[in-house]
């Protein structure tokens, strides 16, 4: 009987020839990751258990991302706990403030996660890495502490849902739109406990970055993991980047899937998730004109260089609407530097956007542009639950970078075509 790529990866990491969905396994991890908010609880759990020997100092990444730079005294004190730990154990993958950025953009960018891996991250968007053809999932801090101690994690082998996308994405349609559409179709817990495998000819038109945007948001459908088979696009991305040798796994033609979806995406318009759930998705034309007070371009979903290029291309020669603020936050220090070199930051500042250092920032209502009562934001990020970006009565629309930017120019939800006519660069 055929196996999915995910079954093969998990079997290989559990020392078995095959595994079946529903089976409990102990899997060996290739990388464990925590951030400034989740690491301190892991550290406490290790201390309470009296564990002082770690699995592998070169396989445990700690990335400061959430409250960077420290937003107040408590977050500074909390960061210090994680920093002391990383220095004490001489962790080679410690990315302090100023040295990294948002973990889910950083690890792929640095080639620290590669096809065939099992990656366990103490952050729910750790599913992002699956876009590179690997298994990754988000866990809590105690789970992560166990991986830090043993290099292993207990997992229930997930069933896999297959999503086949046909056709060519139209102008302004990106990986973000495909994943928002998908979440809208299967709803918010439609993939609960499951692996989501994305495939089909349409993906050939998506860059590696756009694919990572898709796997980034599988958690918003309740998914345990996302998977896109590594291909020529993946290998090109990994060239000069991959820090370890890798193995490409493919699903067998007769692999068993618990659900099959098949969509022709030709003619699809950009998608928008309306307040207050990521599955409340509508085509852009249905929400055009809604007033927004704030726009945010950034986050682990859409804060990569490609996203900034799309935004700058639209914003050039325009100003941010009066009464609206536009936060632009490159996802990593490297993205920031690249954007500086390409003159993108100058375009953002000329347009009177606010540009800040790499951080999760407003995505989780942490800092750097929190929403007040009844304020509405259009955001390139991933969640729009009540109060996600600030006050419990604030609202968030989720959209792709082009729609966010066009809306920042007018002050209401706007189609990019209405700013620039037709796109001058390929929307990825």
């Amino acid at each position: 009987m055929g196996q999915t790529a995910m079954q093969k990866i998990l079997a290989a990491h559990a020392g078995k020839t095959s595994v079946e969905p529903g089976e409990f396994i102990m899997a060996k991890a290739d990388l464990a990751m925590a951030n400034d908010v989740t690491a301190p609880i892991s550290i406490k759990a290790l201390e309470r258990a009296g564990i002082t020997k770690l699995w592998d100092k070169d396989r445990i990444a700690i990335v400061f991302s959430h409250f960077v730079p420290a937003k107040d005294i408590l977050s500074a004190a909390q960061a210090a706990v994680a920093r002391e730990f990383a220095l004490k154990y001489d962790l080679s993958l410690f990315f302090d403030e100023g040295r990294g950025g948002i973990e889910h953009s950083l690890l792929p960018e640095l080639g620290l996660v590669v096809p065939g891996d099992v990656v366990i991250g103490a952050d729910s968007h750790s599913c992002t890495y699956g876009g590179l053809g690997l298994f990754s999932t988000g866990v809590g801090s105690t789970d992560l502490a166990a991986v830090m101690a043993t290099g292993e994690i207990w997992l229930k082998v997930p069933e896999t849902m297959k999503f086949n996308y046909r056709g060519k994405p139209g102008p302004w349609v990106t990986g973000k739109d495909l994943i928002l559409f998908t979440i809208g179709q299967i709803t918010f817990d439609g993939a609960l406990y499951k692996n989501m495998e994305f495939t089909g000819p349409a993906l050939q038109h998506l860059s590696m970055e756009a694919r990572l945007t898709m796997t980034n948001m599988v958690i918003e459908a309740g998914g345990k993991s996302g998977f896109i088979e590594a291909d020529a696009v993946t290998e090109e991305y990994l060239k000069g980047r991959a820090k370890r040798p890798y193995q490409i796994y493919k699903s067998d033609p007769d692999a068993i899937y618990c659900a099959n979806y098949d969509w022709d995406i030709s003619g699809m318009e950009p998608q928008v998730a309306q307040p207050n759930l990521p599955d409340k998705v509508a085509g852009l034309s249905k929400v055009v004109g809604a007033k927004v007070h704030s726009a945010f371009l950034g986050s682990c979903t859409n804060g990569r260089i490609e996203d900034l290029r799309i935004a700058a291309d639209i914003l050039k020669g325009h100003k941010v609407a009066k009464g609206l603020r536009f936060m632009v936050i490159p996802a990593t220090q490297n993205v920031y530097r690249q954007a500086l070199k390409e003159g993108l930051i100058d375009i953002f500042m000329e347009a009177e956007a606010i540009v800040s250092a790499a951080t999760c920032g407003p995505c989780l209502g942490g800092h750097m542009g929190v929403l007040g009562p009844n304020e509405v934001c259009i955001s390139s990020s991933n969640r729009n639950f009540p109060g996600r970006m600030g006050h419990r009565d604030s609202q968030v629309y989720l959209a792709n970078p082009a729609v966010v930017t066009a809306s920042a120019i007018t002050g209401c939800i706007t189609h990019p075509d209405d700013i620039v006519g037709k796109p001058t660069i390929k929307a990825a």
């Binding site: 908010v37 564990i51 909390q78 729910s124 105690t142 207990w154 989780l364 639950f385």
Partner: protein, 165 residues
Amino acid sequence: MIHGTGYKFGDNVDTDQIISAKYLVTTDPKELAKYCMESADPDFSKKVKAGDMLVAGRNFGCGSSREHAPLSIKGLGLGLVIAESFARIFFRNCINIGMPILECPQAARDAKDGDQFNVDLDQGIIKNVTQGKSYQAQPFPDFMQQIISAGGLMPYVKKRLAVGN
């Protein structure tokens, strides 16, 4: 056996509603408890008593992986969370830190805010005293039982490490 009042919430209560990100600057369960469920019900932490229960719909605890969410519920002294279904990271987190949870769609659907419950955690039997109904919750798989009986994930891991040495 635990006794308490059930506080009813709807579907898709996410971790931002359980504990808002602005409070993720501490790991102290007692401190986190003060803000538990604040976005959904600002007075929640003031009105509940030790042993009371949270009763929710589908996909409870969805969203972020923050363990601060179950820690805030545990810190508040709540005895149990009953839901139609749980988001997977939240489910794992509860098992790992020893916060009792039961998945029981019918009990969760039938419950009204303020109903009194008697629950036998070992047997997974939920009695809604107010409505005079009894339910059997889904049993935990054996593998998870081992973690629960070890007292949580870290004691379980310690035992495994000791065997390994």
